[in-house]
Symmetry: C2
Subunit: 307 residues, 2 copies
């Protein structure tokens, strides 16, 4: 197992201008792991209730995802209901039922604890810390995500865990809220002052910006004909990003730049259909073709006056 | 004269979090022409009052800008007062005094009327049409800009002039308002359905997107350490864009892609100081260096799985 991800496994009810879906499989750990599964072996640490469909576990396993850490307990699986209406980029949460997720105690096997790459998806920062502390040794590369809720209710614990990761992968609004810096390069600098040596700011329809200590890289979003459902796009970004890093093994600036485009590629698929529908049915050639489309989207030549 | 620009020449009073400047030279025609002057010869069509400082005209002339079409009439020069406070990307207009600009009747000499490139900066679309109709023959390439005011009060005239240009260069909010399409690629398609064969959407801190009939190109904004004053950035973008096109003469997809980065380069200088302070004092090597920084900002390698 190359990557361990801890995060939510959920049944989502989502409405967008394109339609509505009830109780479809979602959650940060699912989006992340399916996206990463195209590049490397991933194991999920999470919890579900006894309403969790065996077919959903099979679908994850069929992607080569290790679900031995996805524990089933008595009760109902975490459920989220949301809609994206006027502004397709902003989710409005209508209902959250934590259910079994409210008492989640992550349990790692030896295979999990020895994984070289760890992604702490959006979850209580105290649980992120527990998982990091459960690893046999400090993994080669650890990245984390978070959300406004944890910035509001668990800031000290959040600052602690951010201080221990290599990279924070975070939404634009949230990095501004976390750092109280409106200017993005200043916000990224403030994140790096907390500990990470790099950060990726996810900007939705505007793409993603990667900041390192000595460089910056900007990736656009892919101009899709239609966005059906943005749910999970950020986790699919992180899955592609970490999946690429884990498949390459050599984490330098070039790897991080390419990983940002791989992540953007996977995020662009995520939004093309509801939930996991598109991202779970990709071929290697779909991914190659979309990656090349990013190359085409961003290429330009220097004018004559540039020596 | 390679490019003629018609637009405003103004004295701006601007306050931003970085400070305040009173009655500094500004206006779309000034920002555009100074930016374009680094690449080609430009002539301004505009009007000023008899309060217009001879030193301001000299400054324009010292950049090789032809000001024979910048007519001085009795009265005061157009004045705009605005501020950028909470959100550095959005101007709040505090006061507008049209003054002599209110009765502006553009007058072109033969040199103007024979120019191969024409930029119709943000101004009443009826005046944009008058200038286009005053050209000896249809110029090789015409681009235009506009703003929410004209979309609201002069939509039919605006649609008419857009139908006669090669490219619309427009802000993101305004292209959405103009086309009533929220999804950007759809909005760009709607613009092209009005007549232009390409459009550039200016997205402020998110960069610029170029749409052609068969391609799309995305340019990021340069992640500056600090934004001092965004006034005129869009006009400096257009000046760099048109300046590059006019200097190359061959208007194909490659030229438009490079022009988008040249435009972004010039816009990135514009915001580094108040008004024209930075953009009027550039060297060729400043421009080359910043262009190369855009190359560095956007470059990435393909992963191994891409054949």
């Amino acid at each position: 197992m190359k990557i361990v991800v801890v995060g939510s496994v959920a049944y989502d009810t989502v409405e967008t201008p394109a339609g509505k879906r009830e109780s479809q499989l979602g959650g940060s750990a699912c989006f992340f792991s399916i996206s990463a599964s195209y590049f490397t072996e991933v194991g999920i640490i999470g919890v579900v209730g006894n309403d969790f469909a065996p077919s959903d576990r099979s679908m994850l396993n069929n992607h080569g995802i290790d679900t031995t850490g996805l524990v089933e307990v008595s009760g109902k699986t975490f459920r989220w209901t949301g809609e994206y209406m006027e502004d397709i980029n902003t989710a409005v949460t209508l209902d959250t039922q934590l259910n079994v997720f409210g008492d989640f105690k992550p349990a790692l096997t030896e295979a999990h604890a020895n994984a070289p790459y760890l992604f702490l998806a959006n979850i209580d920062p105290n649980i992120q810390m527990q998982v990091l502390n459960s690893m046999t040794s400090r993994p080669k590369w650890v990245a984390s995500d978070t959300m406004n809720l944890w910035i509001n209710v668990a800031r000290p614990a959040l600052i602690d865990i951010i201080g221990k990761v290599d990279m924070l992968i975070i939404n634009e609004d949230e990095v501004r809220q976390l750092t109280e810096q409106n200017h993005l390069p200043s916000a990224a600098k403030a994140v790096m002052n907390l500990g990470p040596n790099s950060t990726v700011v996810k900007r939705g329809e505007y793409g993603a910006s990667l900041f390192g200590e000595t460089f910056c890289f900007a990736a656009p979003a892919y101009p899709l004909k239609r966005v059906i459902d943005p749910t999970g796009a950020g986790d699919c970004f992180a899955g592609g990003f970490m999946g690429h890093i884990a498949s390459v093994e050599n984490i330098d600036e070039e790897t991080l730049r390419t990983a940002t485009i791989v992540g953007s590629t996977m995020a662009s698929f995520a939004v093309e259909d509801f939930g996991l529908e598109r991202i779970k049915n990709l071929t290697k050639s779909d991914i190659s073709e979309r990656f090349r489309a990013f190359t085409e989207l961003t290429r330009f030549k220097s004018p004559r006056f540039i020596q």
